[in-house]
Symmetry: C2
Subunit: 658 residues, 2 copies
């Protein structure tokens, strides 16, 4: 499969990755950027003086002297940078960037130990603790990221050295972990190695890597005293990360054996990384039991624990899921990385079974929380993606210190920016999915693709003004005489759609969110017209935080109100969903966004007493409410924002006006 | 002034203090109670194995061996017990209790050092750190509580030993603190000594105690690097309380000189204790500047930072105030102690100036948050008094671990139960206020009082069915021939009232919430009839947490809905304030409470998707909503509760039905 994105909306982001994020992050990793690294929240244990990530590798390689600095997982920043660079080179070869990336591979290679071990903290500071405190060490987590980067880099550049290092590292891990006598029977506190091993398996076909990935998954929670036992035997009792002790076993998804887990628990990024690997391994090994676990956790996330923006993680404490329908809008976590991981999980589920909802969630997370993770300038990043912000609360309510009102330049724990960069740069891998002789369209954007199927190649050109207009045209041509399949996802938000096949309106029933075509494609044109209307949503009434409120969307974008457009105290506004909306595209605003104007009311605050008798009630004035796409918020300075607006009571159900 | 409460409602509480709380707390202080001490929140540094408070005194007195256990301020639990015992003896002399209390005084005396120093932690564990780490040590805080207890105990029993020890302790402090060369120019992290010194001054007339109290107040924040300097010079760098470092200077009210403070900042209990002492010292020394600070902070609390239940402290982090109109109902602190302190502050303000609002706030805090701090059985206590509780959130949202859904038996930091006990036992001191030749009625309850004024004594009998009915009758008789004054507070909740004087309806205008009578009282009868209606309240619209919601009250009681009466998911209910209410007194329920039945709607949850388009909206069903007085909640097992109910939109202002 090879897809070349030509879409202006997404190429802009890929160009930001290439021209802003990668050079900028490179400077940060080298401590050459003149920036302020903010802590994610009020916690003095977060290292924020510098990144030091490249220097750590130099010290481990013997090219420099000094101590390791930063988080124990600091290496992964470099691997994610390398992975993003790889995809960028795949999209747009650039000799200078390639030479830089080659040097990074060389540097990592110099830091890799003779036996394949790779991990600068332990090489430099604590070789005696290698693999001895896996609850906190992130050793396998970092290794997993290196495996992903190496596979991507090979795919982009054919650099075999990186893959060689990856295999050497995977073999080292394979020698240390397993059920056999003398090996460690356990797992990392933070899932990721399982994903890396799957990717290395897909590239090399080496079954040992698939088996090792499955081993780590199936061991998870099988012996849930594993971390305690390791801690007791660790030669050094200093924690590698302060404060992780206080979290329950579910934080690490080790509270139960993996096959018994049926809800999304604990640290949200860890959970979706685990699920990504599970779904991948289930597909690769035909493991229906594993797939069933994925299905249950998926249902739990999507039906009960996911924000309308595709954000996940309801609490900052442990950056974790909490419980069903608990979706507070102003204290949540909704880490950018978690939504990136949710996209990975959804795509792996789609590989197992073709259901439109997987693509719907990818779209929801991508166009909303993932994009919101980055400022329009590509140089400022959110870690936490709130659905409701009052800057005064962020400043003065210590329970909301993690909810930033503008994107900081860089963060003490810099996982999110490079994670977002690698997603944006690799987006061509998520536009379609090929299974046997059928190609499935997943995301809508202008692009050209060529697919090698078992029965010949299929060329597809996609033409659309998505995400602003609902028309998507596919031009299909194939080599070979046998019939091929082509399927298109019908987005969950589309109330109505029409299908034209070579100029003729056809009546095609969708199955699980997809419509299917099968023939010998000879310059066929399939045109879908989704009615892209303004939609008003309410949450399941069991979501306490959203009761009596409404959220507005159009196409893949969830909308929000900002203070700069609507004045302060957004909670005073009430949307009248029955009064209609106006939509217009403004090319000048926020890099080009569709604006929604709504009719509503503003409660007039009354000076004086804190509590009034109801018959003293002040009035409401009519007002216009301006909404912008959520991803574009916080690009005009510090101000309030909210996604879920209070709504005027409606006496009866009603239809949405066009 | 001597008031004897005869009121059934309050005598029941005083009898609970005498027969349940004091014996129970005595067992706890002696580690003889078979109870589970809960931590206030998820924090493993909170000592919760035992109280050890009496044992600490025995060790300090050389009567027992071992180490100090518990908080550095553990002594104050014993002092607050002694103070509550004192008031109880004042109400109902009991030889057995007196002998026990005498022994406690003796024990404390044996633990007092030769120079007057009193503080078991430092005597036992760290004599070299005495007065060296005042930000955390609570040495003067504990001393202040002993002073209060000693003064109360003398008042009840005439025991001079206690007062002698108090003077010896105050003199010791006076020798160590002051502006003079060689003395410590600083203050305690937790205000309280200032209150204790004022009480000792009022009893003894010794101006040094007034001056020392004023010294501590005026030093506060004058040099706000004082704590840092002390820490740097502390011979032992181990903190006395883990984690206090992370709080800002405003936590201790030392961020600015006291005369520049005009908002309620930091730890709520500390703030109101400071204000109590300030208002007392302002009155005693005619210090208008100090009184003006009190007025500003009062306005800030009452107009912007106080819950409708009289609770204060918007965040668990630092148990602190946050900012104007920030009054979240489900994450707040609203510590019982803070409302007890607010009552003290209000009463001291009333001593400075006669304004009904001070009595209104005393009533609000007393009948709601303070009473809610205790279960009806007198054996279980809230520290945190939420206005909205979902037990599942308390269990599974780590940001709400401090919000308990039922009262624990005892708490790791046991400040609240004894603080509540001393308030309830001393309530007779707050029913009236005497200034010169006028007696002011503050709280309404059946009682008999005799006041010595400058111009003879005044006998007052108060007869009422308050808090259930709005009629209050005062029978007045005096000795002496000159005219005396009598004034009655008109509660802020009363829309209408009538006044009868010796059987004649009279037209009396109120001034600042009080109506005044002046004459020579010879068996006069003044009867007030307040229309005690059901009132519906809305918060100032700037209170985000309460927008679109209503709270219901009747007389001094704020009402709430509980799950046991209304089913789960109280957020689904919507009150129709225009549809009227029914009130009935139920003698069988919750020890006798007035029940309010309201008309409303229940949103019907719909199974399935987390987000629905608005035209998929499920319906509402009509329902009856049952409300009970807030103080009585959580006496029928674990269930949901909320004070602020969503309300149905009303098109226009309306009158409240009777």
């Amino acid at each position: 499969m090879a897809t070349k994105i030509t879409d202006a909306f997404w190429r802009r982001y890929q160009s930001i990755v290439k021209n802003e994020m990668l050079p900028y992050q490179w400077k940060v990793l080298n401590d050459e950027a003149d920036i302020c690294i903010e802590r994610e929240r009020d916690d003095s244990s977060i290292p924020n003086e510098k990144s030091h990530a490249i220097e750590n590798f130099k010290i481990a390689a013997g090219q420099s002297a000094g101590n390791h600095y930063g988080w124990v997982f600091q290496d992964s920043d470099v691997y994610k940078w390398l992975e993003a660079a790889a995809y960028t080179l795949e999209n747009d070869m650039d000799q200078e960037l390639k030479e830089l990336a080659d040097k990074v591979v060389d540097l990592i290679g110099s830091a890799q130990e003779e036996d394949g071990y790779l991990g600068t903290y332990f090489t430099i500071e604590a070789p005696e603790r290698k693999f001895k405190r896996l609850s906190e060490s992130h050793e396998l987590y970092c290794a997993g990221h290196f495996l992903e980067a190496a596979v991507a880099y090979y795919g982009a550049t054919g650099n075999e050295k990186a893959v060689g290092m990856a295999c050497k590292l995977a073999d080292c891990i394979d020698r240390h972990f397993g059920k056999e006598e003398g090996k460690i029977r356990g797992y990392d506190g933070h899932e990721e190695i399982e994903i890396g091993l799957m990717r290395l398996f897909h590239l090399t076909g080496e079954e040992r890597y698939l088996n090792l990935s499955r081993f780590f998954l199936y061991e998870r929670g099988a012996d849930n005293a594993f971390f305690e036992k390791q801690k007791a035997e660790d030669p050094n009792q200093t924690p590698l990360i302060q404060g992780l002790d206080k979290f329950p076993l579910s934080y690490y998804q080790v509270h139960k054996p993996i096959l018994e887990q049926d809800t999304a628990e604990g640290h949200a990024v860890r959970l979706v990384y685990m699920c990504t690997a599970m779904a991948d391994a289930a597909e690769a090994s035909g493991d229906e039991k594993l797939l069933n676990v994925c299905r249950k956790i998926w249902r739990n996330i999507v039906d009960r624990r996911m924000y309308i923006t595709g954000g996940i993680g309801s609490t900052v404490i442990g950056e974790s899921f909490t419980f069903d329908y608990n979706l507070p809008n102003d204290t949540m976590y909704c880490e950018t990385c978690a939504s990136v991981g949710l996209i990975f999980f959804a795509y792996q589920m789609l590989r197992n079974e073709i259901r439109g909802e997987y693509g719907d969630v990818m779209e929801r997370a991508l166009y909303n929380t993932a994009l919101a993770g980055m400022a329009l300038d590509g140089k400022h990043f959110f870690y936490v993606n709130p659905l409701e912000v009052n800057p005064e609360s962020s400043r003065r309510d210590p329970g909301k210190s993690h909810v930033k009102a503008v994107r900081p330049e860089w963060l003490g724990c810099a996982c999110c920016p490079p994670n977002l960069a690698r997603l944006l740069a690799s987006l061509n891998h998520y536009v379609y999915l090929k299974k046997e002789t059928t190609v499935y369209s997943v995301l809508f954007m202008n692009c050209e693709s060529e697919f090698e199927t078992e029965k010949g190649s299929l060329f597809v050109r996609q033409e659309t003004e998505y995400p602003y207009k609902g028309t998507v045209r596919f031009l299909l041509r194939q080599n070979g005489d046998e019939e091929l399949g082509f399927a298109v996802r019908i987005p969950g938000w589309a109330n109505r759609y029409t299908v034209e096949w070579n100029g003729q309106i056809v009546d095609v029933k969708s199955k699980d969110g997809y419509i299917y075509f099968r023939k010998r494609f000879t310059d066929d044109t399939i045109t879908l017209q989704f009615d892209m209307e303004i939609e008003v949503w309410e949450a399941n009434p069991l979501v306490r935080a959203d009761i009596g409120k409404a959220a507005v969307s159009r196409g893949p974008f969830v909308y929000c109100a900002e203070g700069i457009d609507n004045g302060e105290n957004l909670h005073l506004l009430k949307l009248d969903a029955q009064a209609g909306f106006r939509y217009s595209y403004d090319a000048q605003l926020l890099g080009g966004v569709g604006i929604i104007k709504a009719f509503g009311y503003r409660q007039v605050p009354k000076p004086g007493a804190l509590y009034h008798k109801m018959n003293d009630l002040g009035g409401e004035t009519e007002t216009e409410i301006t909404l912008i796409p959520y991803y574009a918020w916080a690009n005009r300075g510090v101000n309030e924002m909210r996604v879920w607006m209070r709504r005027k009571d409606s006496a009866k159900p009603f239809d949405i006006p066009n």
